[in-house]
Symmetry: C2
């Protein structure tokens, strides 16, 4: 089994953090996205979406999409559970995973790709106003998370989950594009300091 | 347990179809979204995202997000499996669920909300160019699905899954905004005719 990625990017980091929390090791192959390797026939034959990360099995079949790859490993090795053990936990974690992915992680990546030079010539379509709107969405999601984290230790409840990984990678990408955690968000900052100090954050 | 929804909308339909395939019945409460009821304090106290559908448990806690609600019911009643039984199935179905949700279902809803009058005064921000770009993405995803469906009966493999529900609701919303299945997409049309004739499609 091989994990195709580009190490500097935030979605591959999400998978590496997930694997680190599981204690699972997978061979990694770098796809040179800045030079367009993700759009070569050799890669799109494996992943027509032309994205990283994706996972290739021994039989040649592949799974792309960050959460889908994580889901595979959760099913293979359920403990420690990062998607939730009970039905209610699974539903709640999936809800928060979606909320922080859409409102924070994807929002700030959208800002990067649309309202900054992004990946330069690799950007096939840019819409600056859409990008700026998403930067504001990411900011608002941080304010929302701060209110939520007044009442519980982690994004989706009492235990660390995939939603914490997504939120941490989202906030670190916010920092990368110079959108810091708002100064008055003490709950979010407390949460950030804890999850950023886990060994998985350096994976 | 209560399911809050607005029956005419496509995301609530996805949950109803999921429940119909599971043979599960849940009390439903209509939230009058066209009149702005989803943004009232009574509703946002339950679901701060101000979206439908969402599920309310007897203890007052709620789960929003279409896929998260479906995930809860999958865990409660695993058969028939709509998210996959084996780890590889779960990964592959999650991948296709994401691909058709992002590239088809969400894309065509984005077109509706941004490049048409959408929900009128309820639209807080519109970006016509982004909407038109997403209409084209939905079109391209239909062409891609047509190629994929040359080799298998369902979106994610040999069995019906949540990805078929998402794709069907996406294509029916395409039809609603006058983007039909391309005439030369015989595989996609064959798939559509089958899944649209299942009893769940009328749920």
């Amino acid at each position: 089994m091989k994990l195709y990625e580009f190490e500097a990017f935030p979605n591959p980091r999400r998978v590496r953090m997930f694997l680190a929390e599981k204690g699972v090791s997978v061979d990694r192959i770098q796809v040179n996205v800045p030079e367009g390797e993700h759009r070569t026939d050799a890669i799109t034959a494996k992943n027509p979406s032309a994205t990283v990360p994706f996972l290739e099995f021994e039989d040649g079949t592949c799974i792309s999409e960050t959460t889908a790859i994580s889901r595979y490993f959760e099913a293979k090795q359920p403990k420690p559970s990062l998607f939730g053990a009970t039905p209610a936990d699974q539903g709640r974690i999936d809800m928060w995973q979606r909320r922080v992915e859409d409102g924070l992680f994807n929002a700030i990546l959208t800002y990067f790709h649309h309202a900054t030079p992004g990946l330069g010539e690799l950007e096939l379509y840019q819409n600056k106003d859409w990008g700026e709107n998403n930067r504001e969405r990411a900011h608002k999601t941080m304010l929302w998370l701060d209110r939520e984290l007044a009442n519980r230790p982690y994004v989706a409840g009492d235990t660390y989950s995939i939603a914490d990984i997504t939120a941490l990678c989202g906030i670190d990408f916010c920092k990368f594009v110079e959108l810091d955690i708002p100064a008055d968000c003490a709950n979010l900052q407390r949460w950030y300091d804890e999850v950023a100090s886990r060994p998985s954050a350096a994976a």
